[in-house]
Symmetry: D2
Subunit: 248 residues, 4 copies
């Protein structure tokens, strides 16, 4: 684990204050529960802060992003109200090395679509299905200590085909009570940044309270944290280092 990880949890924070079906589960906001999940596993190394869509610049000034190692993104109904400028800022920061966790419906957010390039649409969805989250890559950092399968008693079905680029690593596949399937845990490298999509996380169910899912989130944050020491910049011809080793 890195000595210190700066994590920012971004939340749309709309449904929790609007719909009883959501506020009854996440009265203080999804971001609070997500933050607690990370603190539970990653304290004291992780420093977790929150950014909300309603804040100026959506809480994501350049300074905040520059000070963020991993960004979690949860959004659903207000994707279109996120400013293009902030989306571009996030995109560049990911390419420069910041990790990004795309949570549940955020797969269709502007940020996800900007980085992945596709529509990220799913073919079908349905509330109140139970879900089995299956580990496909048992050696992957993100599944460490996670039972296989994880049983989610009630969530939201998201059905394939989902219009995403082929993941670099397909970590989880879910099946739902109705028989549909989803590539529900997908990892991509974009620029120097690592991106992980976790589908499980419907706002009307206490999924982010489930210990197994909290473990997945914490593992994913660790996995997505950029290394402390970057690679030296590429040198141009004529600047290539003399072969000092050969002359020693």
């Amino acid at each position: 684990m890195r000595e210190r990880m700066n994590v920012t949890v971004w939340n749309e924070f709309y449904e929790e204050r609007t719909y009883p079906s959501v506020s009854s589960v996440y009265p203080d906001g999804l971001h609070v529960v997500l933050g607690q999940a990370l603190a539970e596993h990653l304290s004291p190394e992780a420093h977790v802060r929150v950014a909300l869509q309603e804040e100026p610049e959506h809480g994501l000034t350049q300074a905040v992003l520059d000070g963020t190692d991993v960004l979690l993104w949860w959004g659903h109904l207000k994707h279109d109200e996120v400013s293009d400028e902030v989306v571009e800022r996030v995109r560049r920061r990911v390419l420069d090395g910041m990790g990004l966790l795309i949570l549940h419906s955020a797969i269709e957010s502007k940020v996800a679509r900007a980085l992945l390039g596709t529509s990220c649409k799913i073919a079908s969805w349905r509330h109140d299905d139970s879900e089995l989250l299956w580990t496909i890559l048992p050696g992957h950092d993100i599944v460490r200590g996670v039972p296989n399968p994880v049983v989610i008693p009630k969530g939201e079905m998201y059905g394939e085909p989902m219009d995403i680029p082929e993941p670099d690593e397909l970590v989880f596949i879910s099946s739902y009570e109705g028989g549909e399937v989803l590539r529900s845990g997908c990892a991509w490298q974009r620029g120097k940044g690592r991106i992980f999509f976790l589908a499980s996380g419907h706002e009307e169910s206490p999924i982010y309270f489930q210990p197994e899912i909290r473990r997945v989130l914490a593992n994913a944050v660790q996995w997505a944290t950029p290394p402390a020491q970057p690679q030296p910049k590429v040198t141009r011809k004529g600047e290539w280092p003399r072969n000092w080793w050969a002359e020693a």
Copy 2:
């Protein structure tokens, strides 16, 4: 479609003559039904022949392989009795361009393991589950004209994790009645050859009689057929062509 495709259907041909539960479904052998499925879709371009495990050299002499564009492989209980020499011969021919369809339990055959490098083991299996075969890549050649999902009323559950190399293209995912999932349609390139694994095909169910599955098989054979015109060999330094175009 190529003007002519030479297809060889290889079959272990043991259970069809041993177990009533199998012979009642495939009295003449799985190879016969597989061959009919291809003929149905690919005649007159495809010329289909059969090779059986019991034949000398398992029916796969170098001459047969040299004359084969795409090989279908069905085996289950007798994997270990396939000679290493023939396995190596098949492996080399695939690397040299021959297409290979790995059918159902053949994912654990010596041929599959030699070409993929992993154990190809599945974590669980169970008879008599219904299966939904979901298309993940709607633009892929192999899914052309195939409904999504394909409903298989009764088959055999194969459960993840399955120990295979990450597919180059993940074409199908299946869910089963019991809730398990499988990467049930996987495509790999190995050398100049194309390999496709289709999990659906339990020998106690008439799955290869299903029109949708027959369509998948025919599509896969077309997809795996090598091009008629190969690339010129690599030239060594000093043999590189003069820039004849620049001198014209």
Copy 3:
């Protein structure tokens, strides 16, 4: 080959009318030579038309795109003047199945960045280097009939690291006189569309007159052409077809 392929060659068409170093090589525009290259190999099946940046809607109305199977894109100095609306229109059409060839400096175009998600920046560049274009995947459709290597006497060096998503298939790697390397032929699937980037194509050198490169372009157009028959749409639960085959 498809019975008919509708190809649109899009060109920025600025340098050919501005700089003698370019107009002396491509006096009628790069698009004319690109179109001739395709006609040479793909007539009469391919119908090639041209669209220019200076035209209304950059020549890419929805109707034009709907009637295009494969789009070639050449741009360099005027990327920023391409309207976001047209970029989004192209992006959607690719996701819906249209093929796209990204040529040379167009790797940094808005269209390429929108579909790939990364900055697409290269670490270094330099004029007047000779280039060797090496085939990495000898079985790939795009290299059929192409010598290995292709010798390009004078072009433009593009040096790694290049900030692109890992290609689904790495078809070519180039080395340059100065020692740099580039993943110069990259294939991606995005949605239902196929994308191919070919780096070779500097506007001050007659690279698109080279027979080997013309062959690569024609092969890539064929490879990127969507199939005539699409897959049926996904059906929702409750609409799944009865197992009509079982009842026949």
Copy 4:
């Protein structure tokens, strides 16, 4: 870094005792220099031991492999004399999580071919070329602290096409004095094990004395070290954990 990493350096150890051109560079054997390189960077966490082809069971008993986290493999002229039994033992151990570094000519070893499935042949080779080793993935663990490019004054050219499965991650590409290129740093996941191929390492040149290459080797060992805590085994239906979290 893991608290303790057990590393085994395996060497054919033939040329160093046979050819003056090799013994003059590596008088004590390549394994000694490789071990020193790792000790230099990874002490005291790494415990490095040596295994030689000439030893009983090639020094790789089941007990040795079970106690190895990462295995380095250097071989060249005696590939065929490695016993199939040991190869199979190594293959299984990698699938079970052991990391593997395939060094230089070992890309054509039995172990590499068994795990990768292809012939691993290169199209051309030549002694005494200088090499530039270019980083393609600047965010990758293996390139941390490594200059880009690394200049290798004299080595052995290995030319594409090389018959390997598409790497999961292409970390380095080399260009050589003669103009050839190679995917010289390739990463694969196989089972639970991580595999890395580093081409640079010709036995007649002091490449493993170069600080940049030693850094690459140390980084690769860390990257390939399996996590201390494995994932729980998959549970079968009926054994799935009660949702204890929901009942708390």
